[in-house]
C-alpha cells in the first residue's frame, strides 16, 4: 500500500465531486493506467468522470506523464481533461 494525494480539475473534478483527496493504493496499482482502472471501481462518480479513459490526462508531481508511466514516488497525482487555455 502507498499513499498519494490525488487532485482533479475541470469536469473530472466536477464529476468526481471533489477537488482532491488522499488515497491508499493497492500494491498492484503500478501505472497511471492502473490507477484509472482502480479509481473506476470506487463508485459511479469515478466511473462517470473516467469513462472515456483515453482522453484523461495525468501529471505526477506537476509534470505531464503518459498512462503507461509508473506512479512510484508520486507525492501528487493530478487527473484532468485535455487543456483549453491560451
Amino acid at each position: 500500500m502507498s499513499t498519494v494525494n490525488l487532485i482533479y480539475f475541470s469536469w473530472v473534478r466536477e464529476r468526481i465531486g471533489k477537488g482532491e483527496e488522499t488515497l491508499e493504493l493497492p500494491a498492484d496499482v503500478v501505472t497511471i493506467g492502473d490507477l484509472l482502472a482502480h479509481l473506476k471501481t470506487l463508485g459511479a462518480e469515478y466511473e462517470s468522470a473516467l469513462e472515456h479513459q483515453n482522453v484523461i490526462r495525468a501529471a505526477i508531481n506537476q509534470e505531464h506523464v503518459d498512462h503507461g508511466d509508473p506512479i512510484a514516488g508520486a507525492r501528487e497525482i493530478a487527473l484532468f481533461p485535455p487543456m483549453t487555455g491560451g
Binding site: 480539475f9 475541470s10 506537476q62 493530478a78 484532468f80 485535455p82 487543456m83 483549453t84 487555455g85 491560451g86
Partner: protein
Amino acid sequence: MTAPITVRVQRDDFDLAAEVAALTCGRADIGAIVSFSGLCRDEAGALNALELEHYPGMADAEISRICHEAVERFGLQAATAIHRFGRIEPGKNIVLVVTASPHRQAAFDGANFIMDFLKTAAPFWKKEHRADGSAGEWVSAKDADDAARDRWTLES
C-alpha cells in the same frame, strides 16, 4: 548571458505596454518584438464570461518550460508569458506572450511556438457562463490545436 524570461499566472489583467517596456528595458540590441494577446471572444452575444480554472504551480512551471524551449530554439533575447485565471468577460485579455530577437522571423516563430504549446500543455481549462443563464459547458480541446503544436516537430 541567459535571456530574461518572465512568467506570471495571475487573476488581474496585464498591461501590454508595461510588459514590452520591461522586456526591452532600454536595450539597443533588440531588432524585433512580437506580442500576442489572446482575448475572451463572443461573436453572438451568447457568452457572459469564461471561467478559467488552472493547476497552481504546474501552470507556472509548464509555461516557464515552454518559454525556455522557445528561447533556446529560436535564439530569443527575451520572452514574457502571462496567463490569467478566474472570470474573464468578452473583450478582456486572457493571455499575453511577448518575444524579442535581433531579427523578425525568430520573434514571430518564438511567440507562435509558445502559444501553440501553451494551448496544449499548460494546465488551464475554460468553462462558459452563458448569457441566457443556462448551465455553462467546458470548452472542448480542438484537434486543430494539437495539429498546430505538432507542426513544430514535423518541421525540424
